[in-house]
């Protein structure tokens, strides 16, 4: 029974769509119950994001790190790994990018900007390497290790900022112009939003991930290990190395997501009292995008629209922005419970047979 369901292809596309609809529906019901107007709320989200250039720019800006963290989670998923540590890998990547740009502020842009992004990938990759290695060699579950690594990243980066790169306002100094992704052109185009060139980096990353997974032998191996590690080992693949590699690439993508915030959006890194949530949202984005590059881009766009639009929603419809977290949670819940959606769909389409 479950085997037949797995093979039916269109269910894979229909499940995320139904999950999104259910998420928006639950959000609307909660708004109705608490005395808000859901139509006005959703309308204000769409109007601000699509009709006001500033919010359009801010939405695209929010898509950038979400694509990268979504890709990071999706990449690990493909190898059968649940990288819940994207949040931490993002923080170390962010810190590394900012630290490198401050340390080598004299270098020309052509060298410094790529260097900062590469270093952020290395830092994130290192943060993914540790759980990957422990998983591969000692069979320790990556979920727990990556959660622990998140906190180590949070406290360590805070400490390093406080003691080595501190500037007024609980943050690092601003990065030099030579390391910046910010663009006055894009900013002017969108009435002063913080949109930056990172969008090209994010889309490029999506393309590379797609190519790597679906057009190379290594990608085939990584996916094979995800499907069935035993069969992969029997076919002569090195399962352990593939697990480590997958976590390193996943961590590197998350690290680059961090550099987008550091070099693009903020131009600095602040001391975070708690997680910023882009990494955790990446889990939702990957699930929604069915772990494909194009799906991740769509998922990232949806969440960015919801999050950016929620600011206008709060001011026009009065609904607290937290409704967006609730909607996202419900979407994750239903994608996670896809079994029940499949079951219901099968009942409906096959007339209860």
């Amino acid at each position: 029974m479950t085997k037949i369901l797995k093979n039916v292809h269109w269910f894979n596309i229909i499940v995320p769509i139904i999950a999104v609809i259910l998420g928006l529906l639950v959000g609307a019901i909660i708004m109705l119950l608490t005395g808000y107007n859901p139509i006005l709320a959703y309308q204000s989200i769409l109007e601000s994001v699509f009709l006001q250039p500033y919010y359009t720019g801010e939405t695209i800006r929010a898509i950038i790190p979400l694509i990268l963290t979504g890709l990071a989670v999706a990449f690990a998923f493909r190898t059968g790994l649940f990288n819940i540590g994207v949040e931490g890998q993002l923080l170390v990547g962010w810190f590394a990018a900012v630290a490198v740009s401050l340390m080598f502020s004299g270098l020309p842009k052509l060298i410094l900007l790529p260097l900062a992004i590469i270093v952020s990938a290395l830092a994130g990759g290192l943060w993914g390497f540790i759980p990957g290695l422990l998983k591969a060699r000692l069979k320790v579950h990556e979920v727990i290790i990556t959660i622990m690594m998140n906190y180590i990243a949070l406290y360590t980066t805070n400490y390093l900022i406080k003691h080595f790169l501190y500037a007024e306002g609980e943050k690092t100094p601003n990065i030099p112009e030579a390391a910046s992704l910010a663009s006055t052109f894009l900013s002017n185009l969108t009435q002063g939003s913080r949109l930056h060139w990172g969008i090209i980096v994010a889309l490029l990353a999506a393309l590379i991930v797609w190519f790597l997974l679906w057009r190379t032998t290594k990608g085939y191996e990584l996916r094979a290990v995800g499907y069935n590690p035993h069969a992969s080992r029997y076919a002569g693949m090195n399962v352990k190395n593939n697990i480590v590699l997958s976590m390193v690439i996943s961590g590197a993508l998350a690290g680059v997501a961090g550099s987008m915030e550091g070099l693009g959006t903020y131009q600095y890194m602040m001391i975070n009292s708690t997680f910023i949530g882009i990494g955790f949202n990446g889990i939702a984005v990957a699930l929604l995008g069915m772990n494909t590059s194009i799906g991740v881009i769509i998922g990232a766009a949806l969440f960015a629209i919801l999050q950016t639009g929620s600011i206008t929603m709060q001011s026009t419809a009065g609904v607290p922005t937290e409704i967006v977290s609730i909607i996202i949670a419900v979407i994750i819940f239903f994608i996670g419970s896809s079994y029940i959606i499949r079951w219901c769909l099968l009942r409906v389409t096959k007339g209860g047979k």
Binding site: T2, I30, T34, F82, I84, I130, L134, L138, V140, H141, V143, I144, I145, I147, M148, M149, N150, Y151, I152, Y155, T156, N158, Y159, H163, S273, T274, F275, F280, I283, A284, L287, P320, E322, I323, V324, S325, I326, I328, A329, V330, I332, F333, I335, G336, S337, S338, Y339, I340
Partner: protein, 321 residues
């Protein structure tokens, strides 16, 4: 400052910090012993902290005075249990990936609670401070005992002792009662348990709901002893720290309690360490990350091998081998 004085600062503060962790870690133990992973403990603590803040405030308004936080704690546990039913339905009945469902619980709890706060308090991001906390006291008579008096019976809350007693009670339930035997068998080998007539689904439901009750209590205790009001940053990682304590305690209730106390010590040292010679030269970051590093080392087998229950994280599908 002599050594005893240092201990008299550090140990009571460690016990206080550890108390919410003990409750939540016990919830984790019960849940994972039944074969359900509960990453959502953080969210359950959020629900507990939120309910404790709201209901303590509510009871205070109705003139219940010092009894308010205690009554609010009961409601925090209750609502934690109710909230965890979502995780139970997803991970047991809907066969969801349990980690995914747990992540959803965390999102939902944080979003819903803050949404409610803004709704109840005209858009403010935090609840009012509660007037009656469960305060630190010196236990009459006992705190006069030399040496252990100042360490274990001064500057403590009654709820800390309750946490320790409940740890042993949970140990008794898991290892010495028929229910505990069923719980463990369902978590180790659900197929075999099912064959012997144990209702796997029911047992897991009970375990998940109990973990919700304990998680809610943990969050509630944190609120009425330490935080005093609920805002977005009230529960920031304590749930995950409790999961770490559960692992470091090797999925054993008393072990988890010990681990929670140890982590509480590390956390409180990172705050009170400034007053302690030697430690005030050590950067606080080492103490902050210590629990997490130790947990990783424990899982890697460097500090005693920690193994999860065999069926942990795998949905049980009847008839599937």
């Amino acid at each position: 400052m002599d050594f005893m004085q240092i201990l008299a600062i550090v140990i009571p503060s460690a016990i206080l910090t550890a108390t919410p962790l003990i409750f939540t870690a016990l919830g984790g133990v019960l849940c994972e012993r039944s074969g359900v992973v509960n990453i959502g403990l953080e969210g359950l603590m959020v629900v507990g902290a939120f309910s404790a803040a709201i209901f303590t405030y509510f009871f205070e308004q109705h003139g219940l005075g010092a009894a308010s936080p205690w009554l609010a704690l009961l409601i925090a546990g209750l609502l934690g249990g109710v909230f965890s039913i979502i995780h139970a339905i997803a991970s047991i009945s809907f066969r969801a990936e349990q980690v995914v469902s747990g992540v959803a619980i965390n999102f939902l709890a944080q979003g819903l609670c803050l949404f409610m706060v803004k709704l109840l308090f005209d858009g403010k991001g935090q609840t009012p401070y509660i007037a009656h906390r469960i305060d630190k006291i010196d236990i009459p008579l006992l705190h006069d005992i030399p040496i252990i008096g100042p360490l274990l019976f001064s500057n403590v809350t009654y709820i800390s002792y309750i946490a320790v007693i409940i740890s042993f009670f949970v140990w008794y339930v898991i290892y010495k009662t028929p229910f505990g035997l069923r719980l463990r068998s369902v978590g180790e080998h659900p197929q075999a348990a099912d064959t012997l007539g144990i209702n796997v689904t029911k047992t897991r439901y009970i375990a998940v709901i109990l973990s919700g009750v304990f998680g809610g209590l943990g969050g509630g205790v944190y609120l009425v002893t330490i935080a005093s009001n609920y805002s977005v940053s009230t529960i920031a990682g304590q749930g995950f720290l409790a999961i770490a304590a559960m692992i470091f305690g090797k999925w054993h209730p008393v072990g988890a309690m010990g681990a929670a106390l140890f982590f509480g010590l590390a956390q409180s040292l990172s705050i009170t360490g400034q007053q302690v010679p030697v430690l005030n030269h050590l950067p606080d970051v080492f103490l902050l990350i210590a629990p997490y590093v130790i947990t990783i080392l424990a899982l890697a087998g460097f500090v005693g091998r920690a193994d999860a229950p065999k069926a942990s994280g795998i949905p049980y599908i009847k008839g599937k081998r």
